[in-house]
């Protein structure tokens, strides 16, 4: 039922996982050097979520996500150079240096942000799905939600509207166990997050988000439900962020043991071992990819730092059409 992955697709998965990891490490470094300012939320540890989902989509589907968006953009096939340029506030960035890490968009790639207010992306993603239905174009909108947003009223308003109007929206809860420093157990009453659509008649499922292949399978089934015009679906992906909530968070609310436990289930390592075991690529081939990715990310950083800052006059553009 679920199509088998080709050798090429295994390589695509591995390349994307490693590209996101290396990009985020470089972003952390540039933050430290003062080239990136403000809030910067890294995706390290969660790579398998977006890469697993990536393998199940078509290019006319839309995406709406949170402020932890760098990995989502890379998975969407956007140019790491222009993402890094945005992080460093340059005019060559996706938002001409006016959006920053949390507010990035690419209309031509159907990537509708990058939203800085927790939960606010959920009605918006539901509305993008509304437009897909209105245009009857057969595409779906994937709307990502952090576990922290799952207690926000507008999320449930959206679930109600999406189910009421049978909108083609796939809600993906990235449960990384902490909404900033508050664990899910201390924030969310009741049952599992994926069951929170049940009162609205929205089915849901849960999957191990450290294993990219399991994510792909679950996302494929979930996406098929939505694409078959059966209404919205909620997929909860259990993942873990290795770093703090943002660059300024020392993550003192969790134990080292907990972090180390998750690092033993590292999504890149799991993918690597599977690929080798299934003989989809040799260690040598994967090592070659590692090198190419390091080069690409280095070029992205160089491109960003060599790009010009916006002009003073850019301050006043793009306020009105």
């Amino acid at each position: 039922m679920i199509p088998k992955l080709s050798k090429k697709e295994y390589i695509k998965i591995y390349t994307n996982l490693i590209k996101i990891r290396r990009f985020e490490e470089r972003a952390a470094q540039l933050y430290g050097l003062g080239h990136i300012g403000g809030f910067c939320h890294l995706y390290i540890g969660q790579e398998a979520v977006v890469v697993g989902v990536l393998m199940t989509i078509n290019k006319n589907d839309s995406v709406v996500t949170t402020y932890r968006d760098h990995g989502h953009m890379i998975a969407r096939g956007l140019d790491p150079k222009r993402i890094m340029a945005e992080l460093t506030g340059r005019s060559t960035g996706y938002s001409k240096g006016k959006g920053g890490s949390m507010h990035m968009f690419s209309k031509e790639n159907n990537f509708y942000g990058g939203h800085g207010i927790v939960g606010a992306q959920v009605p918006i993603g539901t509305g993008v799905a509304f437009a897909h239905k209105y245009f009857n174009d057969g595409n779906i909108c994937r709307t990502y939600i952090g576990d922290g947003a799952m207690n926000s009223g507008q999320v449930f308003e959206s679930f109600n509207l999406a189910s009421l109007w049978e909108l083609p929206v796939l809600y993906i809860i990235e449960n990384n166990k902490y909404g900033m420093g508050t664990s899910v157990n201390r924030a969310s009453a009741g049952s599992d997050l994926f069951k929170r659509g049940e009162p609205f008649g929205i089915p849901g499922n849960i999957v191990d988000g450290m294993n990219v292949f399991k994510v792909r399978e679950a996302a494929y089934k979930a996406g098929k439900h939505v694409r078959d015009k059966k209404g919205p679906y909620i997929l909860e992906v259990q993942t873990y962020r290795y770093r703090g909530h943002s660059m300024s968070d020392p993550a003192k609310y969790r134990t080292k043991e907990e972090l180390e436990k998750y690092k033993t289930k590292d999504p890149i390592q799991i993918a690597y071992e599977q690929i080798i075991k299934k003989k989809m690529a040799s260690k040598k081939e994967l090592e070659k990819i590692n090198k190419l990715v390091i080069k690409e990310i280095k070029e992205a950083a160089d491109y960003a730092l060599e790009s010009p800052f916006p002009e003073d006059s850019d301050l006043y553009t793009d306020v009105y059409v």
């Binding site: 490490e25 050097l33 003062g34 509305g127 993008v128 509304f130 959206s158 009105y320 059409v321």
Partner: protein, 454 residues
């Protein structure tokens, strides 16, 4: 010393986890650093060999960007040049910002927007009908929906109920439930949904049953609709109209009687329109629906039933950003909008008869972008100004106009400007107090007499 928080300027090096000569790999812990917010662990970004540690454990107050160690990682030799270039750019940019705080660029943009819209107005027929403002708003929506099938209306009771104030009467019948959409009582949700659909290319008209309920959704209106064009560097515009009754009706008390004009006008990225009669309600709403920006369209419930002549021609539009001289005069100017236009005209008539003077009355029609030129031209002629609005006095539209006039026409003023607003309290229920709360014709007459020294 890495910057590890948005506000960090220096840090303490609590301790090293490495020593000179160590081989390090990405992700290895290097040091524990105390920032202005927390104690953090610093990780290695690349592979390399620790050549030298430049500070010892416990060193305090090291400025951000000061080198704290030397790591040999041969693959990155190009970086230092890049960093030097970057530092020079930052320095240049800071200098430029100090030199050039000229905001005229912004004005030019607004002017351009106005000119573009103006070109759209072209009426072929002079014929008109006497209709209510309710009918004018309905007709504007229906005409735009016929023209463009991306336009749809969404809100509470807009369909089967025919609109809580009957403004959407018969629209469901003509356009069907795909384009006239009844929602649950769920402002936050359906406002955000409509904004998302506008990002994707639709042109929603969101009806708030009253603008009091828009407060449930103000985060979506400001943070999502108004800012996305800017945050996306010009990619994601939001062609949407938020409309509904605004301001005091009659004895619906504090939570259902307030003028939100000043609230929304504060925010760049949205336009704010305040019609005062059927004629401009229709012309302005058609422009608003046709506009590619988010527009707040504030209707007054008391005006819904009042009638005036409205052109039949479906090309009739009034450009946004243009004020209207409702009556011209030479002795004093009243600047006003929405329901206070008719009260101001009444006051002007009485005061003219009483004192043999001529009052100019300006209906702003659009609050943002504000027609600054027309106001300034009028002050240069009359030298006296009263502003009249239903908004609370603190940081009101009148406050903005006072600031504008003292800035651009101070030398033309022959008297201090008088600002008339509602009382600075929540709206009371009792009809006696409600009347006292709202600006009345007598208040306007008194103000004119005061600035004309009569």
């Amino acid at each position: 010393m890495p910057a590890l928080s948005p506000t960090m300027i220096e840090g303490n090096l609590n301790k090293w986890f490495i020593k000179e000569g160590d081989q390090i790999d990405p992700g290895d812990l290097l040091a524990e650093i105390e920032t202005d917010k927390a104690t953090m662990e610093l990780e290695a970004a690349y592979k390399g060999i620790v050549k030298e540690l430049l500070f010892k454990d416990g060193h305090q107050s090291i400025a951000v960007n000061t080198p704290i160690a030397i790591i040999d990682e041969t693959s990155n030799s190009k970086n230092s040049d890049v960093h030097k270039k970057h530092e020079k750019r930052v320095k240049d940019l800071n200098n430029n910002i100090k030199k050039n705080e000229d905001s005229k660029v912004h004005d030019k943009i607004e002017e351009k927007t106005i000119l573009n819209i103006e070109k759209k107005t072209k009426i072929k027929s002079e014929a008109s009908n006497m209709i209510t403002m309710r009918q004018a708003i309905r007709d504007a929506m229906a005409e735009e929906m016929r023209k463009n099938d991306k336009v749809f209306i969404i809100g509470e009771e807009v369909g089967e109920y025919q609109g809580a104030y009957k403004v959407t009467k018969d629209l469901l019948e003509e356009f069907g439930s795909k384009r006239v959409i009844d929602t649950p009582i769920s402002e936050h949700g359906f406002t955000g949904l409509a904004i998302g659909s506008a990002f994707k290319g639709l042109r929603p008209i969101v009806e708030f049953m009253t603008f009091n309920f828009s407060m449930q959704a103000i985060d979506q209106i400001i943070n999502s609709a108004a800012k996305s064009l800017y945050m996306s560097g010009g990619q994601i515009n939001c062609p949407i109209v938020f409309r509904g009754p605004n301001g005091a009706a009659s004895q619906v008390a504090a939570q259902h009687s307030q003028d939100f004009t000043s609230w929304f006008s504060h925010c760049p990225g949205i336009k704010v329109v305040t019609p005062s009669n059927s004629y401009n309600a229709k012309g302005l709403l058609k422009s608003a629906i046709d506009d590619d920006n988010p527009v707040i369209f504030l209707e007054n419930e008391i005006l819904y039933s009042q009638k005036s002549k409205v052109p039949i021609d479906t090309n009739f539009e009034i450009p946004l950003g243009k004020a209207n001289i409702v009556q011209s005069g030479k002795d004093a100017t009243i600047v006003t909008y929405s329901i206070m236009v008719s009260k101001s005209l009444e006051a002007a008539k009485l005061v003219e008869e009483k004192h043999d003077i001529e009052i100019e009355v300006i209906d702003l029609q659009t609050i943002r972008p504000l027609d600054k030129e027309l106001i300034i031209e009028s002050i240069k002629k009359t030298n006296r100004l009263v502003t009249v609005e239903e908004s609370w006095p603190f940081a009101s539209i009148g406050s903005e106009i006072v600031s504008l006039v003292q800035d651009e026409a101070f030398d033309y003023l022959d008297a201090p400007i008088k600002k008339i607003n509602s009382a600075d309290v929540p709206m009371p229920y009792s009809s006696v107090l409600e009347k006292k709360y709202l600006p009345q014709v007598d208040d306007i007459i008194l103000a004119i007499e005061e600035i004309c020294y009569i």
